[in-house]
Symmetry: C2
Subunit: 314 residues, 2 copies
């Protein structure tokens, strides 16, 4: 059987035809063209799905990763800030338009399922995936299934508070000092800018201005020997390690996979992160196994692959 | 079918004969009499089990809740500080001594399973149980099964850091500012003592000395109108709320159940806790369901009941 995976973003609708092992056979996309009504976007999704399924009798269903708060059981988008949708019965609408069964997930959860089943945690019995991007997204996959809980919403490890102090950075969720406020690419850029302001003679300030600084800037400056950049990286890795160690102590997963812009640093991030995480793991001295901390492998295709594999779980 | 549940503590060995619904039919116990070798303690456990099973052909197995780090899959106690045991194949030993299949779990996990299946979360599809005692123990039950992860060890939500600052209280696990260091009964007593030292004229100081203060002291003083006690309670509940909200954002469980000495305060603890937790839950404004925050109901029998129900899962 084959499955259609949809990654619905604020900019593009991406659809792929995927086999049960997570291999992509064919892809299609078009601009999301927001703002427009949910039905209109879904008509485009349905058309892309029909294109990819044309002439085939072996397409078993459609999986959709959608930004925002979704209820995976009822197939409703409860609220999506990116799409400006509220309470839309997306699965029912797409099912009526395509004649195929539809499964819905939060987009970060769909990508996490892709990495867990066909990417960095393939073959593992449990995985926590963290995306270090504008925010810290994530998903938890246990025994091959997404953890969505009672509400049907995604697990939100990025909104775990790790430093509950009045002067901790404020997250868009309204809490201070959560993992997202310390470990997102946005947070790394904020910390880099603060260091640039404090050390105007640093290499950092030769490589970028406060306007052009990116997540990678601080790594580039460190590679050029800048101790100010090294200090920012150390601080960033420390916060990330606290969050990762918390998640290990809660889930003891086989794999923790990191994706998103910052994770592109690979071992430059992962090696010091492992060293900082190890002593924070509860009972590590007596355990004969430990969580593998790795980089994700599917890149931006994790979303369509995971969405398709969600459809395959019906 | 009936099952034997064993709650092995540093002071007593408790065994109960339990039906598949979690009802206790018969109980027996004897002192643990530490220090002594693991085999000797297990011989006593086996004898208690034989007593309760005598003349019955409907006993399907034994479940054991054991303090320390256990591997639930291999049935080994990896390390138990309380018992001073290391790397003991407890399931194999007990199975040979009794002729019954044996399932092993961490003691806090066994109690959590009891509360999830037969106590405060009976009928719920997911539950996180926190025990506010000497430490903060806990267990996570998803779809009726304990979350034990890749290592086979218990979930340890008490060792989630919620305030990563250099001056946060130090936990016995070696980390500063974890939930245990802020929300255990030990932490509440520490905070009460600090308040007594700072406010020697307070009602608190009339009700107890630094030596006699207990977890309930601060609640008694508050009931007598002491604003110093109220401030301690507010601070304690704030920290607990941060941890509880983190666990909701990670698991979105149907139920969070609190047990242990501090939870005996019931609604005096739960009502203000719910009020503090609610605004910290991610996406609460759009969710049509919310986690129920309740007190556990099985008391000290949760351990034997949960251990027996673990055996019933084979």
């Amino acid at each position: 059987m084959l499955y259609l995976g949809v990654d619905l973003g604020g900019t593009n609708i991406k659809v792929a035809l995927v086999d049960a092992q997570g291999n992509i056979l064919q892809e299609a996309s078009r601009p999301t063209n927001l703002p427009r009504p949910a039905e209109s976007v879904c008509d485009d999704i349905a058309e892309l799905c029909r294109q990819l399924a044309a002439g085939r009798s072996d397409v078993g269903g459609i999986g959709v990763g959608c930004p925002g708060t979704v209820d995976d059981r009822s197939g409703r988008v409860l609220y999506s800030n990116n799409l400006a949708w509220a309470d839309f019965a997306m699965s029912d609408y797409l099912q009526a338009a395509t004649g195929l069964p539809v499964r819905l997930a939060n987009d970060a959860n769909a990508a996490a399922l892709g990495e867990a089943l066909a990417g960095c945690a393939k073959g593992a019995d449990s995985a926590v995936i963290l995306t270090l991007g504008t925010g810290v997204g994530g998903g938890v996959v246990l025994g091959g299934k997404l953890l969505t809980g009672y509400t049907g919403a995604a697990s939100e490890p990025g909104h775990m508070v790790i430093c509950d102090t009045p002067d901790a950075p404020l997250c868009t969720c309204g809490r201070r000092g959560d993992l997202e406020s310390y470990a997102s690419a946005t947070a790394l850029i904020r910390m880099t800018r603060e260091a640039m302001q404090e050390y105007p003679g640093s290499t950092l300030c030769q490589l970028a201005t406060p306007e052009t600084v990116e997540g990678r800037t601080v790594f580039d400056a460190r590679d050029a020997g800048d101790p100010v950049a090294q200090a920012v990286i150390d601080r960033y890795i420390h916060h990330l390690a606290v969050g990762v160690a918390n998640l290990i102590n809660i889930f003891f997963p086989e794999v923790i996979g990191l994706s998103g812009g910052v994770a592109n640093q690979g071992e430059a991030l992962l090696a010091p992160l492992r060293a900082e995480v190890d002593p924070l793991v509860f009972g590590a001295a007596y355990a004969d196994k430990k969580t593998r901390l790795v980089a994700c492998t599917l890149g931006y295709r994790a979303g369509v692959i995971g969405a398709a594999l969600l459809a395959a779980q019906d």
